[in-house]
């Protein structure tokens, strides 16, 4: 419990690649910098487990650079509201915290996109990236039969990581047609490191069926998943599995930037060349500005960290490298374009909002999010519409409405902090 607010010149939200890089760059100015992270570890979701079991030299470098720097790490801390100008309200297991900033860098990363299909609510159906993260933190996977399905390069990275840890990968189903995948492969020519990484994965996954133009239509099981029906649009077949690792690439975490009033256009936070958003003194870096992966996030994070501390020359020196990663990002967006068939996977009784068990039948006729929320409780459960909201954008074409605090489920005591503080 803290009655005195924390004060910093620069506050960064999110300790993934963008946030770590931003923290290092900002700290090099000598200013007081805080890095807020809602997990107990540094590295975000992509570099999960790196602190306990080092694997990626790149992750090690950035995590250690932050640990050795003057940056104050506020771990286990979730930002839930912005109760006043330049003020954050955050939850920590020991109690609420008020954090006051002069410059704010938002590096909230991305999450996987889940689309509803019959059986998607069964235990054992998880996102490939999320599953790999859990496995790095001790989730038992050795000997388990895993079907990996959905969209994007994360399918291969996850299959590779799971196989290394003893999973039996039954098959990998990429929804994109072959031509779409080949085009992306050609674009990688500009990024030799990515080709080498890709070839390594391909070699390690030798013997695992990898199919383009295939997607899941149904997960089957009672208490947990035991098989999945896949299709190529012509044929339908069943594959047995203990786990279905399925997601359709990534969507940015925009709840906080929206709460702070940053302009969002075409699903991403609008930033200028300094990574500055339309909200005063607020910067954004990494996936919320466009899904580009760790390398793109690192460059953007460094630029944001330098720019937020008035170091324009070192920031400018990174512009060319950022341009190159933004080309990669554009190619990635083309690769993960979802096929229209995926809009029609849910049937009437498929739960669309998982938190509140609202079926697809009950929501599909509504014209928008607000109407569905008011009349069915769709999107009003514990995840606050994070799962079904993202799905509804693709499946039903609904837009996102304004974000309201608290942006995460919070304790009542946290929300009372303002009133508890003497003089307020």
């Amino acid at each position: 419990m803290t009655d005195q607010p924390f004060r910093f010149e620069v506050v960064i939200i999110g300790a993934g690649p963008a946030g770590l890089a931003a923290a290092c760059a900002a700290a090099s100015s000598g200013k007081r910098v805080a890095l807020i992270e809602n997990t107990p570890w540094l590295g975000g979701q992509i570099w999960r487990g790196e602190e306990a079991h080092p694997a990626s030299p790149q992750a090690q470098k950035w995590i250690q650079d932050v640990r050795r720097s003057s940056v104050t790490v506020l771990g286990n801390t979730s930002v839930i509201a912005a109760p006043a100008e330049q003020t954050l309200l955050a939850e920590h297991p020991a109690g609420p915290r008020e954090i006051i900033w002069e410059k704010l860098i938002v590096a909230t990363g991305a999450r996987e996109l889940f689309l509803p299909f019959p059986g998607w609510v069964l235990p054992g159906v998880l996102g490939p990236g999320g599953l790999l993260g859990l496995v790095k933190n001790g989730w038992p996977i050795a000997g388990k039969k895993v079907v990996v399905a959905g969209a994007g390069p994360l399918l291969l990275a996850a299959a590779d990581g799971l196989k290394k840890r003893g999973a039996r990968i039954v098959s990998i189903a990429e929804q994109a047609p072959r031509a779409q995948v080949m085009r992306f492969g050609l674009q990688l020519m500009r990024h030799p490191a990515k080709i080498i990484q890709g070839l390594g994965i391909k070699k390690r996954l030798m013997g695992v069926p990898y199919r383009h133009g295939v997607w899941p239509i149904k997960a089957q099981g009672q208490e947990r998943v035991h098989s999945v029906e896949l299709t190529d649009g012509q044929r339908v077949w069943t594959e047995e599995c203990d786990v279905l690792a399925c997601a359709f690439h990534l969507v940015p975490n925009l709840e906080l930037p929206r709460l702070f009033g940053c302009r969002v256009s075409e699903d991403f936070v609008v930033v200028d060349e300094w990574q500055s958003t339309t909200a005063e003194n607020i910067y954004c870096a990494g996936e919320p500005t466009g899904i580009g992966g760790a390398d793109s996030a690192l460059i953007e994070g460094r630029i944001a960290g330098y720019a937020a501390t008035g170091q324009s020359e070192p920031a400018r020196a990174l512009f060319a490298e950022r341009r190159s990663w933004h080309q990669f990002r554009a190619g990635l967006a083309a690769l993960v374009k979802l096929r229209p068939e995926l809009k029609n996977l849910a049937v009437g009784e498929t739960p669309f909002c998982r938190c509140e068990d609202v079926t697809f039948e009950r929501v599909k006729h509504f014209s928008g999010w607000r109407e569905a929320k008011l009349l069915t409780r769709c999107g009003m459960g514990a995840c606050q519409g994070r799962t079904c909201g993202a799905a509804s954008q693709f499946v039903l074409g609904w837009g996102v409405e304004s974000v309201r605090p608290p942006v995460m489920p919070a304790r009542i005591s946290s929300l009372l902090i303002k009133n508890n503080r003497p003089g307020s």
Binding site: T39, G133, N137, R224, R386
Partner: protein, 82 residues
């Protein structure tokens, strides 16, 4: 391993490695369903990243904890289907 952490999943002792999250300890204990949905359907972790809230359990008496983002600590009491 000497540095194992003992936790209790629904009263059952489970020894996990340091760096194990609570969700993984629950899975190691053989549980597949973490909770029930409003209609009573079994649910387990979906996103693994602290977003979907499907992995919520009770930890040391505190309800609604995201088990996928919480590291195991010695003696932790974890209750599913809270």
């Amino acid at each position: 391993m000497s540095d194992e952490i003992q936790v209790f999943v629904n009263g059952r002792a489970v020894a996990v490695a340091p760096g194990t999250v609570v969700a993984a300890a629950v899975a190691q204990a053989g549980e597949t369903a973490f909770r029930r949905s409003p209609l009573g359907l079994p649910r387990g972790p979906l996103c693994g990243m602290g977003v979907c809230m499907e992995c919520r359990v009770r930890i040391n008496g505190q309800t609604q904890c995201r088990s996928c983002q919480t590291l195991c600590e010695m003696g932790m009491k974890i209750q599913t289907h809270d």
